[in-house]
Symmetry: C2
Subunit: 198 residues, 2 copies
């Protein structure tokens, strides 16, 4: 123990964050030492408020400080589409496109037998409840394009078959600005399979 | 603004830390969301306590929660040596060697005309006060081996000449485990200049 206790505690707290080792944690703690006291108190308040004032939206399961969340409350959105994403971050990524005007459903994970996550650990029951609404006509499966995401999309597409909805999966292909030369075989195959007339 | 306000505030707070961009800040904030509430409150307390309970040691200017700091209070240490370092982190690095048993003095910076830091911005007056004590016989200058650190060491060595102390500078040379082939010329020259009989 070379650091005084309050500093050691803060370094320990920082080093629990993902991807932060002891050296970076110490750097952050020394940065905090040089911060203005009011900024530091703001930071501490932000930490506590995130836990106290945020919860899951009772409709779409997104993280929100209101219930229903702002998106579910938005009357200007298209009630016929629900886009299923794994995490709140993915919802934010979709919103950034400014191209999508429907609603969302956040699963909070993907099926992963390796990590012991089955369908029951995800917010699938809440999704099925929403599909009973006649307004919903299309379900977009926007889980990640990896094994877990694909498995989840496959599972969901079979599960909701009885609702008679249009179920779609976001396209696989080359990223914009990418390079054919450096694309991996699987992406290139998917890109070829998904070709469209222009 | 796609994130609910409490979350956006926390992301903003994280992104002010050194080397943390908006993506990493969001990752940290989502990590906090998944933390237990008591851990989160501990984190917040650690932040505030660091500002409230830490100050500079009235003797060596190190960061401490007691005054004098634990090192200055330590009666088992050698009163004849003071090691001058730039930052509290450097003191910790020295302590980690477990080879040094004297006292320290933390300058809180180095002379850097580029950043407008002159001798008056450093804790040099406090150091001179300590050198009046007859017990002190050696001053080790352990500022960083870069331009600012060297300039500071040079400045200090001239400044304290009148005290009639032994003034030493930590050795330059090849790092242990290093490779002659990849050493830069300056380091190798210094390493050659500093050669010792074995």
């Amino acid at each position: 123990m070379f650091y005084p206790e309050p500093l050691a505690k803060l370094i320990d707290a920082f080093s629990r964050l993902p991807g932060i080792g002891p050296k970076t944690a110490a750097r952050h703690a020394f940065h905090v030492l040089r911060m203005k006291e009011e900024d530091c108190i703001e930071f501490a308040k932000a930490l506590v408020n995130v836990k106290r004032n945020l919860h899951y939206c009772s409709i779409c399961c997104n993280i929100t400080d209101t219930d229903p969340c702002r998106i579910c409350q938005d009357k200007g959105r298209d009630h016929s589409i629900i886009c299923v994403v794994q995490e709140p971050k993915d919802l934010v990524a979709m919103e950034r496109t400014r191209e999508y005007n429907g609603f969302y459903h956040v699963l909070h994970g993907a099926i992963s037998p390796m990590e012991g996550i089955g369908p029951d650990e995800l917010r699938i029951a809440d999704l099925l409840k929403r599909l009973g609404d006649e307004q919903v006509q299309e379900l977009i499966l926007a889980t990640n394009p990896n094994i877990e995401g694909e498995a989840t999309a496959m599972y969901l597409s079979r599960l909701v078959r009885s609702f008679g909805l249009k179920v779609t999966r976001i396209a696989h292909g080359l990223p914009v600005g990418g390079d054919l030369e450096y694309a991996d075989e699987v992406t290139l195959t998917k890109s070829l399979e998904g070709r469209r007339e222009i």
